[in-house]
């Protein structure tokens, strides 16, 4: 059981929450995630990256976008409410060292998991360039926090409503063409963005890491539901990852697997909305 200590809406569909979780706060490292359930009996288990932690307060921060049933219900919960199931920290922490010049690319909500990693890379002595991108200005999150870490900072939006009107791959390509080129790139965001970031850096042979957010059930390596093909080998994202060499990941298969339950989820979502409407009507 974990109490919600703080809640803030970052953009239309994006929320930040601080949750009481003293053990996780103490153990977690950059790159790790938690799994939560909002109903002990009938809830589904969803993975969320730990965006930040405060060991003294015994809390962790999660940032999530409303994309399905659970994130929607989570967004309706308030300070003081308790999340019945919270387990972590899961996954292998990011390998942090001094690479030299690193580029951190965050797309949309992907900026949240990127934040602790960028912070750790900076602390390890790297020269950190940060690119963040979103569809429009409203969807940019953690701008100030990221700016603080960055030696060089680039913002892009798809519609040009803020920063450069470009996809993140554009400045990424330019950075790869510079001399010296980056020693390492880490890209976190929607699968399609990570795929194209990997494709962008491939010709320049710049080591590129991506953080995969597959479907998960247990999160401890027991079910294989999170498996991906990396360099021809089957890997479990929840234990071997979530970070992998982007040049080796089979993104197409991963994206297909992400859609495995789309039809069922949509059906459920409709029922769910009907139920919410019904409840509201009763209230009135």
């Amino acid at each position: 059981m974990s109490k919600i200590l703080y809640k803030e809406q970052l953009s239309e569909n994006v929320y930040l929450m601080r949750l009481e979780a003293p053990l996780i706060a103490e153990e977690r490292k950059a790159g790790q995630f938690i799994i939560l359930q909002i109903d002990e009996d009938f809830g589904e288990r969803i993975p969320l990256t730990i965006a930040d932690a405060n060991a003294e307060e015994g809390s962790i921060t999660i940032i999530f976008q409303v994309v399905g049933l659970t994130t929607e219900e989570l967004s309706l919960m308030n300070v003081g409410d308790a999340i019945p199931v919270l387990v972590g920290p899961l996954g292998t922490p990011t390998h942090i060292k001094n690479y030299g010049n690193v580029v951190c690319v965050g797309g949309g909500i992907g900026v949240a998991p990127l934040h602790p990693i960028a912070e750790a890379l900076k602390a390890a002595g790297n020269n950190v360039t940060i690119i963040i991108g979103a569809r429009n200005k409203e969807l940019i999150i953690l701008e100030d926090e990221m700016k603080k870490i960055a030696d060089e900072f680039i913002i892009c939006t798809d519609d040009g409503s803020y920063g450069r009107k470009a996809l993140v791959t554009e400045p990424l390509k330019e950075l790869c063409e510079r001399d010296p080129k980056p020693d390492m790139v880490i890209a976190i965001g929607p699968p399609i963005m990570m795929k194209f970031c990997s494709e962008t850096t491939r010709p320049y042979k710049v080591f590129t890491q991506v953080s995969l957010n597959t479907i998960m059930v247990d999160g401890t390596g027991m079910c294989g539901g999170c498996r991906v093909n990396v360099g021809g080998e089957v890997k479990f994202v929840c234990v071997d990852g979530p970070e992998f060499d982007g040049h080796l990941v089979d993104f197409d298969n991963m994206m297909q697997r992400l859609n495995a339950f789309k039809d069922i989820e949509e059906e459920k979502h409709h029922c769910h909305i009907d139920k919410l409407v019904e409840l509201k009507e009763k209230e009135l």
Partner: protein, 508 residues
């Protein structure tokens, strides 16, 4: 064998019951051998294929008494030798024959802590019933005394009366024991160690307790209520439970001892690493490990499509690869989730199948199709990456291998394709490396199983292990047996500690 409705079984049994009632002492072996086996009453196959309720209904009192009268009370007691935890089988059966059910339960519980569970899931036909003289005399193991059904009857009788006794706990010793994993191995260690007055905490990664008994074995074979009641007894003994706690991640094993002051640890983390075939198409949408499929259905309750948030694949035609209990459970679950056709595809023949015989029989009655001497070669997908078919190969049995089983050999050029939309891989489980990776001193063998000595102690002091993490995917009863041994060793270790502490106190 064809399905016999419960009323028919009961009617037949009542006749015999009237005949033998009160005559237990008089019955000679030849009379006993004339009593036919009392079949297990079960739900109608057509009905049960669409519900999650328990398939086997269990004996009535009269049925149990009649079956118990079939036991010859052999002085050599070969059935006991066949039982991994050496239950005094003839003794508990005699009590049932005499309608002294509570005494019968007490005898079973001296050796086995979870009889309602073991009576349901043990592979009796290869353990106690394999060695039973009645089965031998009739040259048919199916005609052996139904020891498992009787065990279940006695345990259910006690539970249904709310008569489960909470074992006595000795005065607190102040010693702390951590148990990792709440499967049968962990639960048994917890009970046995707590009885000695030690402070026991069970750490479990999931939000529900019971290990495979909860997330793997389905409700229709082992109802959750039964597991819950066993666990509530442990709670009444003062055992503490920490759910949502992954040892090795939430906290390091070494920290549990160094920082949290646990004096000993038992690892009962099970065999939770699904093995895949390594064939083409295995990552397509619609291919699941049995662990994933069953966890969604059981633990996450996806069977209850209306209430559960966790989705489960909508399948029409399903192939399950494998021949063990896990394969049977997956196949029968798929059927209950609405599949129109379910195939079990197994490389060898029916005789080599490791599944419990009763499960195979039940699966057949429910309409599962068995394809022996076949195996998958590759799984075929469409442009969206979804499963549409599977290419298979035929096999024949060759020379026996190291295990004595005849090795299946591929028939070259025998490829054929079947249309389907779902493949469930149930070919076994390896051991989860999560803990051993975080404690490098912990010795494991080449399969990743923790190496222990005859006292279940690992290569690291104060750390014990047992169950599937030591044996590889095995059985509930073997996990319990190892748990019992480990608990005895832990109790011995802690008793020594208490002694030396007392001495130190006196000397100071």
């Amino acid at each position: 064998m064809t399905y016999v409705p419960p009323e028919v079984i009961e009617e037949k049994v009542l006749e015999i019951y009237e005949d033998i009632k009160g005559r237990y002492a008089e019955l000679k072996n030849k009379d006993k051998l004339k009593i036919p086996t009392v079949e297990m009453p079960a739900q109608d196959p057509h009905v049960r294929a669409h519900n999650l309720e328990e398939v086997a209904i269990g004996y009535t009192l009269e049925e149990a008494i009649v079956e118990a009268n079939r036991c010859l009370q052999c002085p050599t007691q070969p059935c006991i030798d066949g039982c991994p935890v050496r239950i005094d089988i003839p003794a508990f059966i005699e009590k049932i024959a005499l309608n002294e059910i509570q005494q019968s339960v007490d005898i079973i519980k001296e050796a086995s802590l979870l009889p309602a569970i073991c009576g349901r899931v043990c592979p009796q036909e290869s353990q106690c019933q394999a060695t039973c003289i009645v089965g031998k005399a009739k040259k048919d193991v199916d005609k052996a005394v139904a020891i498992g059904r009787l065990e279940r009857f006695a345990a259910d009788w006690e539970r249904e009366r709310g008569a489960i006794k909470v074992p006595e706990v000795k005065p607190e010793t102040g010693k702390k024991v951590a148990i990792v994993g709440s499967g049968p191995a962990g639960l048994v260690v917890a009970a046995d160690v707590r009885r000695e007055g030690h402070d026991v905490t069970i750490f479990e990664a999931f939000h529900k307790l019971g290990g495979v008994m909860r997330y793997g074995i389905p409700e229709f074979r082992l109802p959750n209520d039964i597991v819950d009641i066993e666990i509530s007894t442990l709670k009444k003994m003062g055992i503490k439970f920490q759910m949502n706690y992954v040892v090795g991640r939430t906290r390091k094993l070494t920290d549990l001892m160094a920082k949290d002051g646990f004096d000993a640890v038992f690892l009962g983390t099970g065999a939770g690493l699904p093995i895949f075939m390594g064939i083409e198409g295995e990552n397509l949408v619609g291919v699941f490990s049995a662990n994933e499929y069953l966890t969604r259905a059981n633990l996450m309750r996806a069977f209850d499509r209306e209430h559960a948030d966790t989705p489960i694949y909508k399948s029409k035609v399903v192939a399950v690869l494998g021949g063990g209990n896990v394969a049977m459970d997956s196949a029968r679950m798929a059927l209950r989730l609405g599949a129109e056709k379910v195939y079990v595809i197994y490389r060898r023949t029916e005789v080599e199948m490791p599944a419990r015989k009763e499960e195979v029989l039940h699966a057949k009655e429910e309409g599962i199709e068995f394809h022996f001497l076949q195996n998958a070669k590759r799984i075929l997908g469409d442009e969206k990456g979804r499963v549409v078919g599977m290419e298979c190969l035929r096999y024949e049995l060759g020379e026996p291998d190291a295990s004595g089983r005849r090795r299946p050999v591929v028939i070259e050029g025998s490829e054929f394709t079947i249309d389907l939309d779902t493949v469930i891989v149930a070919i076994g489980n390896g051991s989860n490396p999560l803990i051993s990776q975080t404690v490098p001193e912990l010795k494991v063998n080449k399969w990743g199983n923790i190496v222990v000595n005859e006292k279940q102690k690992s290569s690291v002091d104060k750390i014990y292990a047992g169950g599937d993490i030591v044996l590889g995917a095995a059985t509930v009863i073997l996990a319990m047996g190892e748990g019992r041994k480990a608990a005895a060793s832990i109790n011995e270790l802690l008793a020594e500690n208490v002694e030396t502490e007392k001495e130190a106190e006196i000397n100071s």
